[in-house]
């Protein structure tokens, strides 16, 4: 998927003005936020349970793997190969596409059923398959809706059609399936089930991501509610797993710990309906399962984070909690971010994976309120990473000249106390006059963009230094 992240500002503006989108976002966000909060309360109510301890344990598990990622990857490879899987590596999206198309050709595949994989979005895999004459079929209901809507990109990592209303889906189904328009969600789900069932039965190849890879057993773990993940890994004769090199966890016990966090953080569920731990190919006498299993381990920017200040980002388990709780995401939705990953985690990952210079607005698309940091199940300090990216932009001289000049000027003035005091006094008087006796300033010529979306609170009256001087003066007198 080509990144559009450089257009964040313009796209965010459009999204704010989109009434339908705003209504859809409003309906959806509270369910996620309340769902997670309730799940945490419920978890903590059991004897011996402590959600915070779980978060600590989970981030330690992820860090343990990252500290020796090369050796853990080798361990996984050995175990997976011993069970008949072929383990391959891909440096970037183009290499993923090449490998998957090669595999498909080798096995005479004409149709590939896919369960949701964000990495396949990173790579633009569907386009590559179609170009090679192989029909890709998305089977996650949300992803399917996007695919038949002219390959629209997802707006949320676990709820891809977060931004759509049921009316929009109903119209799309009627148009695409040539069926009467439905008005109930259950009916739409059944219609999609029937259409997709045929694809499951006829696809020669299943493509999935992996929520985790388990080093101890060489397994790929898949978490779904719909059951499509099970379908694509059970019925077709070839199964291809496309996943990031950072998805490893050491043991089945570690996996169990992470499974207490992932569904609760993502949807507020205690457990997802289907959790599958898949190891190797169809065994002797087995009645189902793929005859060929390929695991493609993808870098696409991940290795360059290892050992750097951004390494904590590799702990991410893609739960989506950070975006669900982000006031910016809640206002503009996922599409404004312009690439595969939206919200706070996307604002960190997009510049790191696609180039800092290609996503200048994203690290600034945050109030640094730390809602995301508080809910992240693996304790990624997202605001701190966003701040580091901002610093990097300054170091690389990527900020606009006006901003750089303004900061320089401010620095120069701030180093001269008398001048600073004078400037602050003047500014406060000016702003007070602009507020005209009220407590808000509606528009300010110096920063028109900023005041277009919000009011500036008017200063209280005098500067801090004035108030402080007065107070010290008072106290000085009373003491004497």
């Amino acid at each position: 998927m080509r990144s559009q992240a450089m257009f964040f500002k313009a796209r965010a503006g459009d999204k704010l003005a989109d009434r339908q989108l705003q209504a859809n976002l409003g309906k959806a966000k509270s369910r996620f936020v309340e769902g997670r909060a309730q799940a945490v309360v419920d978890y903590d109510a059991a004897p011996g349970a402590d959600f915070e301890a779980l978060r600590d344990a989970a981030s330690a598990i992820r860090d343990r793997v990252l500290a020796n990622l090369d050796v853990w990857l080798e361990t996984f490879e050995d175990k997976a190969r011993a069970r008949g899987a072929e383990v391959l590596y891909a440096r970037d999206g183009a290499e993923i596409c090449r490998l998957v198309v090669d595999i498909a050709r080798r096995h005479g595949v004409t149709k590939a059923a896919k369960s949701k994989s964000m990495l396949s979005e990173e790579a633009g895999l569907n386009e590559a398959l179609a170009a090679a004459g192989i029909e890709p079929v998305e089977t996650d209901l949300g992803e399917y809706i996007l695919q038949i809507n002219d390959n629209e990109p997802p707006s949320h990592i676990i709820a891809p059609v977060f931004h759509k209303s049921k009316e929009e889906v109903a119209e799309l189904f009627a148009r695409t399936h040539h069926t009467p328009k439905k008005d109930d969600i259950a009916g739409m789900a059944r219609e999609a089930r029937e259409v997709l069932r045929e694809h499951f039965m006829s696809a020669e190849m299943g493509i999935s991501g992996a929520n985790f890879l388990i080093a101890e057993t060489g397994s790929a773990a898949l978490v779904t509610n719909e059951g499509n993940g099970r379908m694509v890994t059970t019925l077709p004769k070839v199964h291809v797993v496309v996943t990031g090199i950072e998805k490893l966890v050491p043991t089945l016990e570690d996996f169990s710990t992470l499974m207490r966090l992932l569904p609760r953080s993502a949807t507020g569920q205690r457990i997802s309906n289907y959790v599958s731990v898949l190891t190797g190919v169809k065994g002797e006498g087995d009645l189902d399962g793929p005859e060929h299993l390929y695991v493609i381990l993808v870098d696409n920017g991940r290795a360059s984070l290892v050992g750097t200040e951004f390494e904590p980002m590799l702990r991410c388990i893609r739960c989506g909690a950070c975006m669900n709780h982000c006031p910016v995401y809640q206002s503009v939705g996922g599409h404004a971010y312009g690439w595969v990953y939206p919200g706070p985690m996307g604002s960190v990952l997009t510049p790191l994976y696609t180039g800092i210079e290609n996503a200048l607005d994203l690290p600034h698309a945050s109030t640094l309120c730390n809602q995301c940091g508080v809910v992240c199940p693996v304790k990624i300090p997202l605001p701190e990473l966003l701040r580091k990216l901002r610093e990097k932009q300054v170091d690389l001289k990527l900020r606009p000249w006006r901003e750089r000049l303004a900061l320089r000027l401010w620095g120069w003035v701030a180093a001269r106390p008398a001048l600073y005091g004078f400037a602050a006094r003047t500014a406060v008087r000016y702003l007070n006059r602009r507020a005209g006796g009220t407590d808000r300033i509606r528009a300010l010529r110096a920063v028109p963009d900023w005041t277009a979306g919000r009011d500036l609170a008017a200063p209280e009256g005098r500067t801090f230094r004035e108030l402080y001087a007065e107070r010290v003066g008072h106290e000085g007198r009373t003491k004497r």
Binding site: A189, E226, N273, V306
Partner: protein, 217 residues
């Protein structure tokens, strides 16, 4: 350079990997596997069956209870009749020995297909913490039986209810050794919340999951 060497090479460079530290890392991997430390998790009271029931119902499974394995076919027939569901279906080869015909059911022992309406399975064990079935694929316990039919009925011996996923892994290690091709943890019927975050039951898998708990087993 091939992709593998390229990627692993970059990781090694980033970690400042030396022969010494590599040995240490390998030792750590081995120690981790030997220890298999369980993470923090809730402690459950003795009544695992009650907890299992509660959680399974929360995940929209329905539950029945019988005294012995031999009572299962009649219980399944009762359930199917009460909902006017088909009396035909597929059953795990592992359960072929039960008298299905005696209860008036036409259960075939074979791989499930797209057209089968009822699938009857057992389970490897069941997990009290989340009301979850654990199934292990194999020649006598195929994975698709619990997936393709619209109705999934599972037989759950009460002695096989364990507190949490950790105990389930321990049981698998001691009873089967290597993991089977597919371990599926199943918690109720398939569902989707993709349209307007509204949950509907019956996405790609079963619309309903019915559990028959067996006391004497």
């Amino acid at each position: 350079m091939n992709a593998r060497d390229h990627i692993l090479g970059r990781i090694r460079a980033a970690l400042g990997r030396t022969e010494r530290s590599r040995e240490a890392a390998r030792a750590e991997v081995k120690a981790t596997f030997d220890a298999r430390t369980a993470g923090p998790h809730p402690l459950f009271d003795a009544d695992l069956a009650a907890r299992f029931r509660r959680e399974a119902e929360r995940m929209s499974s329905t539950i029945d209870e019988v005294a012995a394995l031999a009572d299962v076919p009649a219980a399944v027939a009762r359930y199917l009749d009460a909902r006017a569901l088909s009396r035909r279906g597929v059953v795990w080869p592992a359960l072929a020995g039960l008298d299905w015909a005696g209860a008036g059911l036409a259960m075939e022992t074979r791989a499930a297909g797209d057209m089968d309406l009822v699938g009857v399975t057992g389970c490897f064990c069941a997990i009290a913490e989340t009301g979850t079935l654990m199934t292990c694929s194999g020649p006598r316990t195929p994975a698709a039986t619990s997936l393709l039919p619209e109705t999934h009925v599972a037989v759950v011996p009460m002695s096989r209810i364990v507190p949490a996923m950790e105990e389930a892994w321990a049981l698998a290690r001691s009873e089967i050794g290597e993991l089977p091709r597919a371990v599926n943890f199943i918690s109720g019927p398939s569902r989707t919340g993709d349209i307007e975050m509204t949950i509907v039951l019956g996405a790609h898998g079963p619309y309903r999951v019915h559990l028959v708990l067996v006391r004497g087993e």
